[in-house]
Amino acid sequence: MLHIVACIKQVPDTKIIKMNPKTNTMDRASAPAILNPYDAHAVEEAVRLKKKYGGTVSVLTMGPPPAVKAIKKCIELGADEGYMISDRAFAGADTLATSYALTKALEKIAKQRPIDLIICGKMTIDGDTGQVGPGIARRLNIPPLTGVNKVVEVNKEKGYAIVHRKLEDGYEVVKSQLPCLFTVEKDINDISFAPLPNMIKAARYQPTIWTADDLENVDRKQLGLKGSPTIVSKVWAPPKPEGGKILTGTKEQQVDELLSILLEQKELFS
């Protein structure tokens, strides 16, 4: 039986985000928090693999208490267990400190039930670095398979997985030993509708919540802001472009003017 852990994060919906034009900061209150869209695909894939091979899907998140909502969403999608690490000590973590804290939680989860496979999203839509997944893999000393857009086979008995990894101009088929870590692309699957029993389970579900003290062998210097080599020193709104020339006249005149502008680049059309 496989034990798959999907790492998930609650993020502000960047589609709806508003900037405060006076302070050039993000108006976080304006943006509803959602499950990072890529992570929904990670959970969906884990649930599909569970259905195919049998096993358990756990989800893990690091975040403030409201992030419980993102875990409930994953239960709706078919996850069995949810774990959350939440503590002021984790605040301000960059990707290095984030992957450290998550790894400590994964080690604790693995003690209860050994982990065969970890699945992360390709990236988040807020920090969008895509660095946390490979960071966790490195810390656990397991192979990272980034950009996975198809899982061909997971064979626990023989201890391997075969996947497609997206490249700039195609894909590669890779075989890896288990355990390993995937980061998944959006086109790996379509999110299924949550069946009613899952919704009911999710509504009642209470995840396991750990603080930094609950984790074992934690070096506090590696957590949160203290454990983060990168710092965000300045944040600004990207400069507004000035805008172009709007052509005038009748449609025919506008098209003619555009044509003469474009045809200046004759070599492109010859």
Binding site: T95, G135, P238, G243, I246, K251, V255, S270
Partner: protein, 348 residues
Amino acid sequence: MNFDDYRGIWIYVEVRDGQVAPVSLELLGAGRALADKRKTELAGVLIGRGVKTVAPTLFQYGADVVYVYDDPIFEHYRTEPYMRALLDCCHKHKPEVILYGATPSGKDLASAIATDLPTGLTADTTILDIEEDTGLLLASRPAFGGNIMATILCKKYRPQMATVRPKVMKALPPDPSRTGRVVEEHIELHEEEMRTKVLEIVRETKKARIDEADIIVAGGKGMGSKEGFQLIHQLAEVLGGAVGASRDVVEAGWIDHHHQVGQTGVTVTPKIYFAIGISGAIQHVVGMQNSELIIAINKDPNAPIFQSCHYGIVGDAFEIVPLLIERFKEEIPKIKAAAGEKEGIANA
């Protein structure tokens, strides 16, 4: 950590099918400026099989030194062997800065290296600078879906590392007279110990690739339907250009994902970019804003795309685009004929 031990700007160089990846040449250009400011060397790190031959190209584009790890085990990119080689190089030669292309393999490798060293890693940088006296790297990047820019610093660790978006930095014009020092390196790695194997590589056709096109005709949700979107294909065909699309069009299933321009699609820099029936959301604009000439056609005079274009037509795409197609059908043969004539004269 003694910062004075760390010297030099490094570029992790990607080679595909025997060719240096364009992003690596762009990074050499950006790295040269940083190295000159710091009065230090610019190095390229080359890992692969049979890659030594590209060292002269790296010198022409600005490198002073090239470290080479050339071994059959590096035939295909895999995190484990590449990471071991680059870590070996870092421990031996201690760079101050390492830059990687923000490509699938560049990001993968950089994340692994940052964790191991450990050090900070700035993702998807689009603006780079360095403080002349302290050597502090100022790496700026878009975040929150392009809604904000942030400058990221790594004050307490060395090397400072960043992945850099393809197509935002500029390669230098190659100087054939430039040469440099090749340093051959080696580490013991055994295939039996590697935990991953590349079984097969499948290349998708060039035709769909919009990142190399000179002319892109991109359409958005304003085209109304898959059928309406055909107008975009028609204009592209007349112009000999490629078809681009906004994400909403891809999500509607009118066209395949690899035509998507933008933050979660492809970054493009054609000579001419048409944005037709595209509103101009920031996530779209970040993918095309470096195009040389941007033309927007939109029926809403307040559409944000008009802020990001060079020339705009306020109007209905279903009226404007057919006119454009018709006029180009008349004009392009004339240009071709004229070009043919000129060639004829030159040959005579």
